[in-house]
Amino acid sequence: MKVLMSGNEAIARGAYEAGVRFAAAYPGTPSTEILEEFSKYKGVYAEWSPNEKVAVEVAIGAALAGEKAMAVMKHVGVNVAADPIFTVSYTGTNGALVIVSADDPSLHSSQNEQDNRNYAKFAKIPMLEPSDAAEAKEYIKLAFEISEKFDTPVFFRTTTRMSHSKSVVTLKEPEKYIDKTGFTYDAEKYVMVPINARTRRVEVEKRQKALKAFVETFPENKMEINNSEVGIITAGMPYNYAKEVFPDYSYLKLGMVYPLPEKLIREFASKIKKIYVVEEMDPFLEEQIKAMGISVSGKDVFPYTNEFDPGIIKNAIEKNPQETVSPYKESLAPRPPNLCPGCPHRGLFYALRKHKVYVHGDIGCYTLSYMKPLEGLHSCICMGASIGMAHGMSKALKEKGKGKVVGVIGDSTFLHSGITSLLNMAYNNSDALIIILDNSTTAMTGMQEHPGTGYTLMGKEAKKVNLKDLISSLGIENIKVIDPIDQKATRSAIKEELAKAGPSVIIAQRPCALFKRAKIKSKPALKVDPDKCEGCKACLGLNCPPISWKKGVTKEGSKRKGISFIDETLCNGCGLCEQVCKFGAIS
């Protein structure tokens, strides 16, 4: 049967067809849908782990029990999981282990643009990369086959464009699942103390050699000789862009991007006069091919940054200096993403900015509050970083920093990688204030469960961590719980906790406005009373989507130049603007 599938749906389907029944992940754009889709298949075990390192360790454990296991994450998640990944490369996997890395060229939804193909070379782990959904479904099967055959973890790389593009896929009957699980005792192979690890280190090089021989005949490294003048070596999504604009060139399309088929590349090079290596981000293939002594063109013409499209490849090769431009020359107001109507974060940041503090941010919807007019945070590096950074800044500033340094972090992010840094704050007696923005879900990636929600990925009820008890057990004595829409309570809690010596935590608790299960009882949409509105624009400082300002609506006896409006179809009635209006015009 033919169906239309995204790359992510196809990866989930392919794993299922390959008899994979075990997967763990932490959500992250553009990888999230892989586990969501996988979890819907019959007979599978799929979990959201608290972070990517845990997900990989869970998958390693399952593989050591003989399962075919998959761990899924976005590119920066591999950084979190790098520790176990580098050493499971030594031990091998017993069953099978595939690690899916979803990279994000152009940083559509990420804090950096790292090229995770480098991890394959660094950790000496083979890596496959498909170019569309149909390939994704078949390649994930090959990844498991390679893992089993060579007793190695295998990386499966996708990119945002690959994960979120849809194309036609032919469904196949899934392989029958055979339970091969059991105990395998082999301490010399799985206990990585120096004496054993040294032996395994040698085994890794033997495996590398075997893989290098294997890739020469790997059928998904495909040569298409169409002419002897110009050829392109490429992999993944850029293959499609190049084929689109240069259908008559010759191609060497690599299904496996590490290790490289040296003989095949030499053969291709011997047939073609001029070769371009077309790859987004790092010159990963190019440098290895040049190290073989083969002359190719790559980053001398193609950009290092951002994802490609057919036009970029065409312009680079044809040396077109002119980009296609829009005939419309006026500038258009941008549409940056914004916090939703009724978002609890808006209340917290509106209250927080009154205190003139330095705010370390973290990864989540709330990062959007850095923009005007809220300007709610002043740094953001990676998941979990806000707490450690707030502590470090507070220590460095000594007296100057007292009552002035804050870290904010979401509930899912806190459980991902904030707990140890909060433990550190208690242990090393920090003066910073940490605010946990607890909206009861993983909102940014689309409402995924986590250990604080009370449910698992498979929809089962689960132990729900009590944040207050957890924080208290770390040694934090000052803890307050508030509703961030309640401005009076939020402001006074912030004021009190900033004044205290030692670490403090405020849990700003209110479910995400889009979170259906929370069934938040909101009031009906609010209205602006045009007789009372003085046009002061204070409510516009909230940057709430339904609130707008219309020029020219004047009032007798008032200096106002216009008034505020609330779009009733968008307002969710949270009541924040009502508290902000000094004239009682909103109700």
Binding site: K2, L4, T29, P30, H108, S109, D132, T160, R161, H164, S165, K166, S167, V168, Y239, N240, Y241, K243, E244, V245, D309, P310, G311, K314, E323, T324, V325, S326, P327, Y328, E330, L332, A333, P334, R335, P336, P337, N338, L339, C340, C365, L368, P373, M444, T445, G446, K537, L540, N543, P545, I547, S548, W549, K551, G562
Partner: protein, 193 residues
């Protein structure tokens, strides 16, 4: 169509308008009509009221899910101003279907920027075929403002050479039983618009 001419449609609008759903439906229709199809979209940050676009490409064999700038034959804009944002992707003879609904971006709400008042006139002066109407209003008539995306699909179907019965079958498959009639009505309103 030449041997492998690939056609492109660009869907553009604002997060929450049902753009991705509409592009999914059109892909199903194209697939049912026996052609190869690929589409590309970016979600994530875009869901929070930001710009949303989706490229749909179809033909005998499609490689790239993204179209080259200057190559797209059809633009379907779910919002008036958004129609102006992606013109560099269009061919000079492109057809444009545009919902005249206005959704103000934050800078316009704050009074820091103005909303263009010449959008439709500009499009009509520069492109061959411009079909503009208030899809939200028609959707209300069909029974729910959320069917505006299907109204727009009706208008797009006039520009494509695919049998109406295929469109109707796919629409029937795409919605729960109780919403089918409303969406078929919305689709017809788009055809007549």
């Amino acid at each position: 169509m030449s041997d492998n001419e690939v056609k492109s449609i660009l869907f553009a609008g604002v997060g929450g308008q049902g753009i991705l759903r509409a592009s999914d439906i059109i892909c199903e229709v194209i697939m049912e009509a026996g052609l190869d199809v690929k589409k590309s979209e970016v979600h994530g940050m875009a869901q929070r009221g930001g710009c949303v676009t989706s490229h749909v490409r179809y033909g005998k064999k499609v490689y790239s899910p993204l179209a080259e700038p200057g190559s797209i034959q059809t633009l379907v804009s779910f919002e008036k101003m958004e129609a102006l944002r992606y013109l560099k992707f269009l061919r000079k003879d492109a057809a444009i279907v545009v919902n005249t609904e206005e959704i103000y971006p934050p800078a316009v709400n704050l009074g820091d920027a103005s909303y263009p008042d010449d959008a439709i006139a500009f499009l009509k002066n520069n492109y061959g075929k411009v079909i503009s109407f208030d899809a939200a209003q028609l959707a209300q008539k069909a029974g729910n403002i959320k069917t505006a995306n299907v109204v727009l699909l009706g208008a797009v179907s006039n520009l494509m050479n695919i049998d109406q019965s295929i469109w109707q079958n796919v629409i029937k498959k795409s919605f729960p039983e109780k919403l089918i009639k409303m969406n078929l009505d919305a689709f017809q309103m788009g055809i007549d618009a």
